[in-house]
Structure formats: C-alpha cells, structure tokens
C-alpha cells in the first residue's frame, strides 16, 4: 500500500478552531453580540479605571442634572454620575449572571448526567422533581429563595443559580440519554469502561457544545433576574450601584427625569440582548444540525 502524504500545515485542532471561527465571523449579529457582551464584561472588570467619576460621590449642586460634558448621562436625585453608576452596576449584573450560571451548571450537570445515563429508579425521581420545580416560573423560585436567604448580592446569585438549575438538569439529562446510545459509548462499555469513566470521558465532553450554548442563554436570564431581585430590594442593597437598584430609585422621578430609568433599563436590554445574540451565533456554529 502506498499513500500520498500531505504535509500538515496546521494541527487538526487548530484547523477545526479556524473553521469554527470562520463560520462565526460570517454571522454579523453574532459578532455584534460578542463585541457588546465583551464590552460589558471588560468595563465591569475595569470599572474603577473606565468610570468617569466615583459612583457614590454626590454633587448637591447638580441634582437630576441633564446630560453634559461633565456628566455624560446626567446625574440622579443625589447628584451621582449615572454613567459611572451604570458601569459599576455592570459588575453586579455580570458577576451575578456568570456566577449564577456556573452554580446552576455545577448543580445541574452531574444530576442530569446521572439521571440520563444510569436511568433506573433515580431517573424518574429526579425528572419528576425537576418537573415540579419547573412548574414555578424561574423568577418566582428565585424571589422566594432570595427572600429566604436574605438580601445581598451573594444570596441573590445563589437564588438565581438554584432557580436556573432545574431547566439545566432537564437539558443535561436529555443529552446524556441521547449520548448513552451512541456507538462509541457502547464500544467503551465493551472495552471495560465503568460508569464514571464513560460519563467523564465520553458523555460530558460531547455535550459541551450544548452546555456552552445553554450558558449563553442562562447568563442573560440571570442578569435580568439580578436586576429584578435588586429592584425588589432582595439583591444588591443601595447605595451600592446596580441596574435594578437604579431602576427602583428612579420610580419617583419617572415623569420628571425618565432618563434615570431609561439608561439603566437600556443597559439591561443591551447586555442581555448581546448575550442572546452571542448564544444564537454559537448555537448555529457549534450545532451541526442547524447548519444552513
């Protein structure tokens, strides 16, 4: 036998990555989503550097001031710079969004894997339990948990993470259920692999795409959740800046100075929309079933 050997210019992994990247770049909305989401994340991390003013500094000579060169988005009822508060508020939102999603994954993925792979009596028990939890809207569960845990950003994050877990359990279970029937899983069993090895090496890695896409959907949901909890006084406590807190504080001034509510509201919309666009793009790129 003779083969013509083509010298590899790049490693296979790099080639695959480049292919995915090219597919991603062809989707303008996905790229827009990535850019905006990154902008939010970066400005949240670099808030002390990026923010033009101290978000807590009051200026009683400029209460409810209109936008100006000094305060680009104006000031609130205590004369604090709105732009700076939005930038600092992104910290709470991103932190809650990302950590809550991570928490939800850490809770949900192992449970879903076990339920979907081992089946047996565990599966119906876990499935019925998640069904019951899913009967309550996500925000109701989160509000209830946050109320029990007490108001703080950490507790709000925990509440959101736990609240998002049932949906993820169901997704992880469904994936495990489908992947356990794959030929390579059967082959691994025939080669003497035990349950934990199969889950860790054959099922989890092959559901990463789904989980990544799911994360980009869960993050914006958690961001809105954080804003809602903070708005209701169950999350970030004033005077610490947060989009929800700002919206809440803007209520009395809604007719006199609607921008107090408009700008943080816009921040929530842009941030969640960007993550959603990013998620849609990633789903298109990573999931071959949606290839056009």
């Amino acid at each position: 036998m003779s083969y013509v050997e083509v010298a590899p210019l790049v490693t296979p992994r790099a080639r695959r990555r480049r292919l995915l990247l090219r597919r991603f770049v062809r989707r303008p909305f996905a790229v827009l989503g990535l850019v905006v989401a990154l902008a939010f994340v970066v400005s949240a991390i670099l808030a002390p550097v990026v923010a033009p003013a101290n978000p807590d500094a009051t200026d009683f000579n400029a209460l409810l001031a209109h936008p100006s060169s000094e305060h680009l988005l104006g000031t609130d009822e205590l004369g604090r710079d709105i732009l700076s508060r939005i930038i600092w508020g992104a910290r709470a939102s991103i932190q809650a969004g990302v950590l809550a999603t991570l928490l939800a994954m850490v809770i949900a993925v192992p449970i879903g894997l076990v339920a979907g792979y081992y089946r047996g009596w565990l599966d119906p028990v876990i499935s019925r339990f998640t069904d019951v939890l899913l009967a309550f809207p996500f925000l109701i569960v989160a509000v209830g948990l946050a109320a029990i845990l007490g108001p703080s950003l950490l507790n709000a994050t925990i509440a959101l993470g736990v609240g998002a877990a049932p949906g993820l359990i169901r997704i992880a279970r469904g994936e495990a259920l489908a992947l356990r029937e794959e030929d390579y899983v059967r082959a691994a069993v025939a080669n003497g692999a035990g349950g934990p090895t199969i889950l860790a090496r054959h099922i989890l890695p092959n559901m990463m795409n789904t989980l990544i896409v799911q994360a980009t959907v869960t993050i914006p949901a958690a961001i809105i959740g954080e804003a809602t909890l903070s708005f209701l006084g169950l999350g970030v406590q004033p005077p610490t800046p947060s989009w929800g807190v700002m919206l809440s504080a803007a209520q009395p001034y809604i007719s006199d100075a609607p921008r107090l509510a408009l700008y943080p509201g816009l921040a929530v919309v842009c941030c969640t929309l960007s993550f959603n666009l990013l998620g849609d793009g990633l789903r298109d790129v990573l999931d071959p079933r949606t290839q056009r």
């Binding site: 296979p12 691994a188 025939a190 080669n191």
Partner: protein, 328 residues
C-alpha cells in the same frame, strides 16, 4: 479433554417487553479453542449479534440471559460486573460494525487507544504513547506518529475500523469478537481488514469470533462455522466440511444465494433466493423454525423441533432431512 478457552452452554436470551417476551437466542452451545476463528453466520435478526453481546452482558437490562459461558473455567454470566469489566476489552474484546460512529468524536485517536491501555495495563503516558504507535503500525496505518494526533472525523471508514481493531487488540485479548467488521466498508477495504485479522491471529494467537452474514468472508478466514437460524443453531462444522457437504437446507440455501462466476460457457446462473422471511421472534414456533421456507418440509418438521445430530464426523445438523444432494 481439556477445557476450551470459551465454552458456551445452552445460552438463551429473551427480551421482556410490554407485548410479551421476544426470544432472540434459544439454547445455543459452542466451544472456542485458543487461536481458532469461529464464524457465526445467519440472516439479520437470527441472534448472532445478541448472543455475542450476551457473553459480556452488554445487552440492555430488559434482556434475560440463561445458560452458561465459561471463559477459562469461570462463568461470565455469573461473575460480578466489577470482575467482568476487567475482562471486557482486556481478555475479550469487541469490534463493532459501525466504524464511522464507534469512535468518540471529541478525542484524538491516540488518546482513545491510550485510554484502554491505561485502564487495563496501567501504563505511563510515554509507554502508552509508544504502544499506541506500535498498535497503529500493527494494523497497518501509515504514519502512525501523526495519526495518533488526529480526530476520528479526519479518518476514512477503513482507517477507523483499523483504529477500532487496534483498540480491541491493545491489551492482547484472548478472544476478539468481531461483529460484521467489514459490512460497512468498501469491498477492497474489506479484504484488507480480513487479511489484517488473519495476520493478528497468527501473530498474537487471538481466537476470533466472526459474526457475519457474508459466507465469502467466512470461507476466507474461519476455521469452524456455526449457521444460526431464528435464534437456534442450524448447523455446525469445520469450514471445508461445511462448504463441501452442507447438510441443512438453510445452509444450502445460503450457499445458493452467493454469487458465483460463470462456470462454463455463457449460461449465467440466476442467484437462488430463499423464499419467505425470517420468522418473527415473538412467536418462535414449537417446530422447525425453517419449515415454512424449506423445500424438504413435511408433517414431522411442522410438528417437532429437530434436535442437533452428528450426521458426519464433527458435523452437527438440526434437521430431520439432512443431506447435501439435490441442492435446493
């Protein structure tokens, strides 16, 4: 007489479903000697795959298995799963039909073979890598040093089947069970895989159970053949004996359905099909299962199950009217 490498006795597999039990295998017995190639032949659904999967208890929990399968004196069907896992892939290895989907798409070929090596032989990373390269060379994959860094989607079907075989023989198993290893492949690649398996048997002394519906493959590589029909053994003999003196009308029918080159002149022979279909396993009859399709069927075949009899030396047939004359 010493104990053979594997002795299967009265193996039966039944699937319990809501619509009642489905009998996939009924009272199958055979022995496998070290280095022997045993061909398991039959149409789709005759129970050949199920019986091989039952040996390592790879069937879903709805399968009810009875009988015994003694491997080196220990019953595989009775041992704890923990012990069985050490045999799977190490002592008895499988090669499946679907090379395209039997490799994990997320990992390189090298890592997947390495996984088996480290599980059973606890080799270090370097040793495992070295052994993986050797294995790929053994299954005649060119440029193995490079191939181990490739992902399954970068390999052709034949290459993947070679990788599957490399993975199966990685730990030097005593038995290799190959379930239609060449069915999904091109004919030219089939020949390569078969010659590879023959080579492995010579070099490693591995006994092979070859499951196939292709009599050409059996003639090519097997020492002994079992013809299965509807979950039961129809005929068993050494390969030469079976091809020269087939006794069971089903075997004769199968041989008649194999294309043959034109023998003399231009009188091209029409391929003989076997009329009828394989019976549904849910309603396994209390008589010879082949009777409805059999040219020799009579009252006896339609009322009793034919026992296995030794018609010729070392040649077992389950038929009331055996004989190779007057090929159907």
């Amino acid at each position: 007489m010493p104990e053979p490498l594997l002795r299967v006795d009265d193996l039966s597999v039944r699937f319990e479903s809501d619509e009642g039990a489905v009998h996939a295998v009924d009272g199958l017995s055979f022995a496998l000697e070290p280095g022997q190639v045993l061909g398991l032949v039959g149409e789709s659904g005759c129970g050949k795959s199920v019986s091989s999967m039952a040996l390592l208890r790879l069937l879903p929990p709805t399968a009810v298995i009875s009988g015994s399968a003694r491997f080196q004196g220990v019953d595989l069907l009775q041992m704890p799963v923990r012990r069985l896992r050490q045999i799977r892939g190490r002592e008895i290895a499988f090669v499946f039909q679907e090379p395209m989907t039997s490799l994990n798409p997320s990992f390189t070929v090298g890592r997947q073979i390495g996984e088996v090596l480290s599980r059973h032989l606890s080799l270090s990373r370097g040793e495992a890598r070295e052994r993986t390269v050797d294995l790929l060379r053994l299954v005649r994959i060119p440029a193995p040093e490079r191939r181990i860094r490739e992902y399954p989607h970068q390999l052709s079907g034949g290459m993947r089947q070679r990788v599957m075989i490399a993975m199966a023989v990685a730990c030097g198993p005593k038995i290799l069970i190959a379930d239609e290893p060449t069915t999904a492949l091109d004919v030219t690649i089939q020949a390569g895989i078969l010659s590879l398996m023959r080579d492995l048997r010579e070099r490693l002394g591995t006994a092979i159970v070859l499951i196939t519906h292709n009599l050409g493959v059996v003639a090519d590589i097997a020492d002994r053949v079992i013809v299965m029909y509807a979950g039961r053994k129809a005929e068993e003999a050494d390969v030469r004996e079976l091809f020269r003196h087939p006794q069971h009308p089903y075997t004769i029918g199968l041989l008649g359905a194999v294309p043959r080159p034109v023998e003399s002149g231009d009188s091209r022979q029409r391929l003989q099909e076997i009329p009828g279909r394989v019976p549904s396993m849910a309603e396994l009859p209390g008589h010879c299962a082949f009777a409805p399709r059999c040219p020799r069927a009579d009252e006896l075949t339609r009322s009793e199950i034919p026992p296995l009899r030794e018609i010729r030396p070392d040649h077992l047939v389950a038929c009331f009217h055996p004989g190779s004359d007057g090929r159907a």
